[in-house]
Amino acid sequence: MTQTEARPSTERDANGHKYVGKPAARMEGPAKVTGRTIYADDMKLPHMLHAKILGSPYAHARIKSINTQKARLLPGVEAVITAADLPKYKKNPTNRRSIVFPDTEALFAGQPIAAVLASDPHVAEAALALIELDLEALPNVIDPMEAMKDGSPLVHSSLSGIDRSEEQGHVAVDLESGNQEGKASNIASTTPFKRGDVEAGFAEADVIIERSWRSAMVHQSYIEPHSTIADYADGELSVWTSTQAPFYIREELATALDIPESKVRVTATEVGGGFGGKIYLSELMVSLLAMVVRRPVKYIMSRGEDMVAATPAPFAQVDLKTGMKKDGTITAIKSQLVYDSGAYPGASVAAGALLIGGLYRCANLDIVGYEVLTNKASVGALRAPSAHNATYAIECHIDMMAKELGLDPIEVRLKNAVVEGDPLPSGQAYPAIGLAECIRAMSESNLWKGRAASKQHKNRGVGVAVGGWMGGLQPASAIVTMNPDATFNVTVGCADITGVNTTFQSITAEVLNIPREQITVTYGDTKTAPYAGMSAGSKTTYTVGRAVKLAAEDARRQIFEVAATRLEATPDELEIEDEAVRVIGDAEKSIALTRIGRWTTNFGARYPVVVGRGSITATKMAPGFTCQAAEVEVDTDTGEITLLNYAIAQDCGFAINPLSVEGQMQGGVSQGLGIALWEEMQYNSEGQLLNANLLDYRLPTARDLPKIETIIVEVASEEGPFGARIVGEPSIVPGAAAVANAVADAIGVFINEVPITPERVLRALGKIGNGTN
């Protein structure tokens, strides 16, 4: 069992590293364990109002009239605001974030249609019940398979001008999606990938498996609900919000409100969990409310609102047909993937379609992905958006085919796993990747090695699956400033959602060879920091980390230039050691860093202030792969599954902070296990969410999970700092497949719908229902 513990770094390791590659405690850890960290809901501004939102009671409704008079008269209510009360702003009918309150039609149950503002949130809440809505329920469509059919009620009458900017923050693949222009349909986009001739491929196969796989709509379920405060004064809009994407929000708000970006300040407050779900949601609404009342406005979603009206992750049905030869060669992959995007486009179908044909070498592909609209909350990203749905299908097929042919599940994966140079379904070639290395590492895990012993127990099984994610690419920048006392401040524009600040601290410490404690990080504020892309697509260390490294190197160069004049040496003859600049190999010739700090800041200073600058654009993706294994025990009387052990091997390129990397791996695993076993947003036929709370929407608890065996694999990326590559997202991807394969190993049946609930197990065993699931 891996147990990593933070400890101070003093010694250089075999790679010559002193700070990177060493477990580092979170720099904000003491504030977090004492409750001093300030989240958006912990902030109060003078004269601030609380917003409460009235959502549509129907999944699809025409808004005929809204009478707010009684609500306005409730003592303590400052304003009741509907679409008619908002100033003009730029709307895009297919972009949910740009529709604050719909003018004529609500497209999902819970869609905001009016706000009440009051100093006392209880008063605002009470006033919601006094708003009189005159709505006409319209025909709705809830099931995406129905929504695809001709003649289904339409969610949108027109689908032109779909904005894909948010999705592109998560994954840097060409989204070759075209919607069917001209023809009214609920299909928002279609992504086809073709290679070779699948029929010829199936003709060569010794085994063909054809099945349909369904994975439920799930929720990111960050423990902090969406939280936003906005204030508009003197022509400047200030927004404090729990977001992964401050610069993205700045751009969106400036565009929607037609004000310059320089007049919009977005501060990413501490994010109490995001997982792709906290990019941009209520910020325009809260900004407009603040503009109407000219007072600061705070909006904290209740858990129920967040479940009903945030941006969950899509249900998908993946129809898959695959063929394999006796020697394990995969001959053809044919698939139709249908993703339920909810009421607005946004499901990353291209990513799913790309991955289903992108894990293994296969000469013949025929893949088509559909993004389908329904009258439900529109979806957003959840950690490697759309990847798990597709991976569940293909990874179960690999096991099913291997089983038919008597092949070892590890060997068959190794034989086919993509390596550097292999083409993605899009034609793009893979850079250096570590999929095969992860599979080999898993075959050496305690869990996998204990497989034979596990089989001694009835109804126990072990399953394996792989997964990956391409990662996003966006430009990034950083500034490293030297203080007079020779401490340093790193300034970056990204939000810290995974401990990246501590990683930046380690990178800066390594470059400057000074203790981590002498480095602070300022972050997430669009007014004070240079640009960074969104903290999504697993790319923050990969891109911003690279900029930080460059900025620290720039600062070091400036320090050496100052020192060189005093030490009668050239800058490249210098090094930093023991908090002093010295001539390499001559400890006698040195200057304390504090002296340089003073020489560059004092009155009459002879040297310029040390301000290092790092600025990059990222063009080369650094995909991350993982191989995971589960050991389960199935109670064939109750259908209950107990997770006995779980292991993950993941390629992170280089673990700058192993503590954080393991945390990302284990956290993603638990979310993948939630998808596998427990989590499912259940809608009724009228589009009402039935389990909008954390009791009935079942997250993994401490009782459910074992300690996760965690194996870091390092295959260096080309561009990442110290070889680091993407880390955050791949870990969620194969959980559903690994568990399904383990269950099949235990009871002999592959269950083709996740979560694998006791009911689905019993159906699969023929103990209830009609014997199918």
Binding site: K32, V33, G35, H122, S302, V669
Partner: protein
């Protein structure tokens, strides 16, 4: 609504506060008394982010009404670090990486502290059961389990 005065000991200090009878202990401590360490993750007692210790018992403060806390001893996360020194549980959470986004952390630390007070040598099953009422979405619990084990070990050797 008319307010009523309640008296409680909050983090060891006698505290008087005027509350509406419908206020929860959580909003009283956060909004009226300004200790914002405890979090509201669900408001229905499911996530445990609002956990506090009342008269030695771990409770979800979003489900306790303020008047119910009248005359009682309440400890919030702000009450754990005596004189600025982290308690062993807090330190262990930092050292093992049991802290990620931090939103569940105050409640999780309260739960772990209550667990180790009642059961200084918990088995792995005891730890899993002791933390079962506190949801963490970031860590997958592995590093939290390790934090509780480490804290127990350090407290035993003290």
């Amino acid at each position: 609504m008319p307010k009523q005065i309640i008296n409680l000991r909050l983090n060891g200090k006698p505290t008087e506060v005027a509350v509406e009878p419908s206020w929860t202990l959580l909003e009283t401590v956060r909004e009226a008394l300004g200790y914002t360490g405890a979090k509201e993750g669900c408001g229905t007692g499911d996530c445990g982010a609002c956990s506090m210790i009342v008269d030695g018992r771990l409770i979800t403060s979003c489900l306790m009404l303020a008047p119910q806390a009248d005359g009682r001893e309440v400890t919030s996360i702000e009450g754990l670090a005596a004189n600025g020194t982290l308690n062993p549980v807090q330190q262990a959470f930092i050292d093992t990486g049991g802290v990620q986004c931090g939103f569940c952390t105050p409640g999780m630390v309260m739960a772990a502290t209550a667990l180790l007070k009642a059961n200084p040598k918990p088995t792995f099953e005891d730890i899993r059961n002791g933390l079962a009422g506190n949801l963490c979405r970031c860590t997958g619990y592995t590093k939290i389990f390790q934090a509780v084990e480490l804290a127990a070990e350090r407290m035993a050797t003290k």
